[in-house]
Symmetry: D2
Subunit: 339 residues, 4 copies
């Protein structure tokens, strides 16, 4: 069994990850508590009569906790500041790290601009591998530090990169990604923006052209910032991201040509699914799964292209993809614990 | 008091219209029933002790009901087939008509293509005025037949037409309208698509590049079909439309220049509101009002423009706009019964 | 115009009240700010082109602000501690006060037990009138201090007091009130319990047999604590309370007899409506209104009685009832600004 | 592998059952189509590139299909009329049957009264075993025909039967069950009552004292109809039932005494969980599981008792319980495929 530490297990992504790990056939999860363990929640859960609730090992974080406890890999589902501090310590103890924050996804200059502070370990940014297995599977296998992609970025990149390699896309016309996310994407911390009364029967746009996930998309799908317009929107649902992407083509193509691009790009990628041409893309099909579903539509003249991608922001957009990365890194079946 | 008939008062738009009419200071609503009146709903409502519920006049539709009952104007909140049959009869009896369906919004050729059947009164299509007061206020004043705009069309046109008159918009790059609507836009008839279990915690895209409201937008905002990409999405809420529009500019402009375009276009238009630059557009601000709220964002290089418009699909997108048209047609304060 | 101060206008009840006051024909609202005014929200609202947004007078609270500004009546939509401090100051300046908190609804002993602290102005508790106009209309007319009822209490009392005067109710068998409320009842302050992700697709029970609104119900419906079982539940909706009340009768009665009890009790009460026997009670009929709707069902043997009451917790359960009280206190039409 | 037929696999319960069966380690599901198979839905699903979607065997229903295909057991997730016709045919072919409808839960007289028609196979009603394993585990082991309980009934019975065996419950005072269900309980067929716009931000009561699930509760918890008051309510969520039950005790007891009743009744029952005394019962803990969670509260005087039970109406209230019954009938681990 692979001893797998989880730091930040009480947030949405961390809790989702813990659920997945407990069902994984080859993994033994170990809780790591940066601050003191929050045991109150467990105490309020209903219990089968006559049974004690199962308890995971819960270790306080210390700079030597990883090696002392023979932990092989650590997930950090923590804010970027914490990840930046903790990940190097994990690596120094000889373990591998998968970070779910934005701490290791960009280069130092991008980090400074989009996160508004200096990166504290720029030397690790070259070493870190961007953990989107559909793009970087080979590099992930041997990576010590994997930067798990942002949720919006996962949806946008999966929809865009195969197309952007085609010469028939008119980049000068601009690529549009209109993205909508469920509220769990905003994190567990209560705020006026996530109050039920504010969100229900409402819909809002935010971070228009300024979202932090943009530079990841540029780096991995292969675009310049001036070519790409991204707007985020808040859906009154718990989970799920739909990204509706609009591209303009230099010459008319057929829908079959477009679909062939995806079939080629994702042959062997078991978590990418393609919608039949006449169907209706919806979040319900991906929620609580690690799939990224893709749907293509083409204008009658063959040059207006709409590509829709759907993921569960907590699974393919966070915890599921992190586990997929672990599977690749340790040579397990890529779908172990994920189907 | 203006005697005002309502045909189709039991659908969502018709019921919303009836509510508005009953609060209007200068209007006396009269129900017109194409089929026999549905009285069961009224019988199930709670009643103030000792009071009879107020009853509106309810007349069965007949080809002479309008003139016999001195009705001045008739709203038809009916399917296009019914509107096509009834509206000419209203006009023949000397009354004016405001139609909430798609029957009179297009030319005959467009109607054939987008609605899939031949128009039965093509002669009326030239006479009909497209009832978007912010564009066609003067023509509406004297119109006998007003074609009330589609809900999506209202949101898209209000956001786009002022900009599309500017030479700095790069039309060749394409104009994108990513639109999201609440479920009431799909009508009251139960279907698998509007079942609560299908809609809640879900989000879907539909009519991608093929929505019937597209030709109205082309006609009124001034675009060719190949320039315009429109996708509709279903929000898990009762009401509200947000249209996120993306344009590319030939030369960099400032956000102030963009805002000035709207301020000029909508000076005196009391139902168009502009968001401050740093605020967050949301449906909650327009729902249950006749406002169309507009929000502009500009990329740092000044050429990527995002314009968001928000309306309540049942008010500014249907019943409220219909009443606004009535106000214009009969010389009332344009906002009477709407603030 | 009645100069009407509002302290606590940024919470849900206060904001709802302000909306109502601005539409009232005889009232001029004045904002009172206990702490410094929160102007940021107003700055983010969309604005009609060329118009300045309307601004209300906003005065910082001081012990003499009421008399210096000729304010006739003050609403305190504040926590009980603040209301307890402010209300006496309002009265000392010769104005009347309507308090929306729980500060003045109970006697001193009850306050100590249910609110967990000593009341600071027990002398006012005898003077305060419980502001449920359907029960205490005459006393409210001349009251200087009105204690606006709790939301759950309003629903429970309106359903129960007329019946509890009947000798055929078997009090020994116990009276049950199973109450369900929308999330706005929990207040505007963000907390884990009101986070959208916690509430959506969920339903929970809380304050089972221990809710603070219980003693108000006992006092006003006429029961002993041991006779009454009350449980509160959280609905995944913005607003609305349904209270399903169960009573057992000593002898069989008919549904007509039960309905006659309500018709007699509420003759002339314009905000109480009775459902027809065969209809389905639902929150949608009362939301955004000041109505309390009541529905009665009787077991086939005539002794099991179920009485359901529905209100909007922010209107009849808070702001609307507060305004109804103002109307009674100042001799306006009881429904002014409320229909 | 146990060959397991499913008739009625396209409704909510049937689809949920099919999902569970496909994960069960010892079961091979076979689709049975009473009418022609609905293949359109499958054709619209997204597909992993290069993979054919997995297909289950789908057989048209015929009176000999069960024996000809060596099917061991058939689930009928069909309306009672269909179940009444099909179940005898299953039994005649030597297979066992688990019926999810109300066809075999009552005696012939009860069926006539509550379902409004004569039962067509009254001889089977004595043979049928009520499939609540926590009560009737031994009888289920050898049953040929299991009547899977109603969803509301499951919640009510699990909360009530252990208590109703105690002499300290005052039955004469009446037992109350105030039950709330998600919309999937109303079935998949679109209707005005399940339209999203009708349900969202709403809450309604229905079948007050007249719900069809009542006689099942009376039979299995041990009550007379005049002792029991049951009201159903519709929650604006997809799934989940909470039943809040109120009992009055003849003499004061302690909460520990109450909890001991449940611990004894459910020792060895792995799907019944008891909440700690200070916690908050909520549907989120049971949804998508086969658990029934129970929470007890007691008034300070020790005689007012509130017992809350929570289930997922589609799992413990339908498909999960049906599978639990199969496990018991065929000697599998009772939790196989359910944890």
């Amino acid at each position: 069994m692979l001893r797998t530490g989880v730091l930040g297990y009480s947030g949405y992504s961390g809790a989702e990850l813990l659920d997945l790990l407990q069902k994984h056939p080859f993994v033994e999860p170990v809780l790591l508590s940066h601050r003191k363990a929050d045991e109150s929640a467990a105490d309020k859960r209903p219990v089968v009569c006559g049974q004690s609730p199962p308890a995971l090992i819960n270790l306080p974080w210390s700079p030597s906790v990883v090696s002392e406890n023979n932990i092989d890999v650590v997930f950090t589902a923590t804010p970027p500041e914490v990840s930046m501090e903790v990940a190097p310590q994990v690596l120094q103890q000889g373990a591998r790290a998968i970070d779910l924050s934005g701490a290791f996804r960009l280069n130092a200059e991008q980090y400074r601009r989009w996160y508004g502070s200096e990166h504290e370990h720029p030397e690790l940014l070259k070493e870190a591998v961007y953990g989107l297995p559909e793009l970087h599977r080979e590099k992930i296998r041997t990576a010590c530090l994997v930067a798990n992609p942002g949720c919006y970025s996962t949806a946008a990149i999966c929809a865009l990169w195969p197309l952007l390699k085609q010469e028939w896309v008119d980049r000068a016309a601009g690529i549009i990604c209109d993205a909508k996310s469920g509220v769990s994407g905003a994190g567990k911390k209560p705020s006026p923006k996530t109050h039920f009364v504010q969100v229900t029967e409402n819909f809002s746009a935010y971070s228009i052209l300024t979202h932090r996930h943009v530079p990841e998309v540029l780096n991995n799908a292969g675009m310049e910032e001036r070519e790409f317009s991204f707007a985020a929107h808040l859906l009154p649902i718990e989970r799920g991201i739909m990204a509706t992407n609009y591209l303009r083509l230099k010459r008319p193509v057929t829908l079959d040509e477009v679909r062939a691009v995806y079939e080629n790009a994702y042959r062997g990628s078991r978590f990418i699914r393609l919608y039949p041409a006449t169907s209706t893309p919806e979040l319900r099909m991906v929620n609580r799964t690690n799939y990224c579903d893709i749907h293509c539509s083409l204008g009658s003249e063959g040059t207006r292209l709409v590509v829709i991608s759907c993921i569960d922001n907590l699974v393919k957009g966070a915890a599921g993809q992190a586990l997929q990365n672990l599977n690749v890194m340790f040579g397990f079946d890529e779908a172990a614990g994920l189907l």
